[in-house]
Each structure stands twice: as structure tokens, then as C-alpha cells.
Amino acid sequence: METVDAIPESYEEAERLLVRWHAEGGPTDLVVYSFPDVPHETVRLVEVSNEFAATGAIRPMTFGRSAEMPFRSSTALATPEEWEQVEAGRLSLPPGWDLAARRRVWP
């Protein structure tokens, strides 16, 4: 069901909205990490669940600004095994995404 959301005015609001869009109603084992960027232009998330296909890479899907989301968004899916490899340094994050800066934002 499509709902009407307030258009986010700050980077933090945009992050909260994107997390809600992606996490609510998602897989029960879903874990979401945020990777804030310094200029606060792009909200970046990695979503981890056993329901996702293992692709062997962290491939973000990036969207430009729109009327309802005036910040760029970039999201990637990963399995728990792929995420373990990321944390162990065996699987690369997209360029510019800093593992040390990650924050768990769901649940």
C-alpha cells in the first residue's frame, strides 16, 4: 500500500524515512546498516537477510533526488554470510563507504 510521507527536510529525516521504507514489512531477520556520507548528500544503506540472493558483491542501487526524496539514496542487499565477509575485510564495500562509520539502524 502506498502511503503519503512527509518530504524529508534534513539528511537525518531522509535516512529515517528510507530505513522505514526498506525495513517495515521486510524479512523478519532483516538487519540494516547505514553508512553516512560526510557531505550528507546520499543516504547509504546495506540490508542483510537470509532471504536475499548471494551475489558475491555489495552492489548498490543508487537513485537521484526526486520530489518525494530530495536526497540521493543508495542501497545494497547482502546475505549474512556476505556481511560477515565485509566485516572480516574479505568483501569490499562500494567505493567511499567506510565500514568503521557504519551504524545499525534496524532493528
Binding site: A23, G25, G26, G56, G64, M69, L77
Partner: protein, 159 residues
Amino acid sequence: MIALDRSVVPECHPLHYLQMATEKMSKAAFEALGVTTDLFSHVAFSHAPYHLARRDVARALGYKDFNVYRDFLRRAAPFFRRVDELSPSVGLQTPGGAATDGPNVEYPWQARNAAGALIWIAPAERGFGLLAQIERGGDAARMVEFVRTLLDRFDAVFP
């Protein structure tokens, strides 16, 4: 193209590429599976949730659990259909929304304005809502991931 702002690249452009790529990909997959299809029809991607709900395809795409893959295809089937409906030769399957005279991502179509006059509407002037739905995540976004992975691994999925 989706990474550019919508004020720079209207939604119809990436959706046009998505429709064309998924149609060709689906026809190639069906051909590889020996599924008989109408090569001249633009309805193809919406058949993928049925023809590709196979254990070997799920495994080759990286799914650990076939039931999870099959459930995803079942839930996402309406999104697959919406991609096919972007083609002017398919169009919305609603009364009065038949092919070539309704919203599509390629050609202008006629509609009436508030005063009842006939006007032309260009795809770039209209919001289709599908890209926003993909950005919201869920099964619409996973459908695009499914397409990316299937294109990346096509030769391995259909040796």
C-alpha cells in the same frame, strides 16, 4: 540513469530501458528453457515469475531456499506485469487503457484535460510511480536485483 536527479532525467527514460532489457532477457531465458513464446509479443517479463520458478534457476541465482525464491516471485508478479505494461504495445489492462492510446514510456498519447478538450501528453511529463516504488525497497527493488543478477549470470543459469 536512475542515479541522476528526476528533474534531469524523467522517470520514463530509465523505465524504457528497464522494459526493453527485461523483455529481451526474458525471451532469451524462455528460449534457453525451450518454452514456446510469441516472439512478436511485448508481453514477456510478466511470464518470468512462472517460467523461472525452478530450483535450478534459484540455485544459480544464489538463493539458498527455493521456497523463499518462489514466494518472492509470487509476491512480485504484479511488478513484473507493471514493467511489461510500460510498453505502448501492451498498455494498461484497464478499460479504455488499451495499447497505443494510454500511458506508456515511449510515445505521446491523447487524453482529455479538465475542460474536456483533447490534449497530448508526453511520457516525460507523466509520473509512472514505479521508480519511486523501486526506491522504497521491498519486492519492487528485489525485482530489479533479480534482473541484475540474472543478466550477470545468464550463461551460468542457462548453460
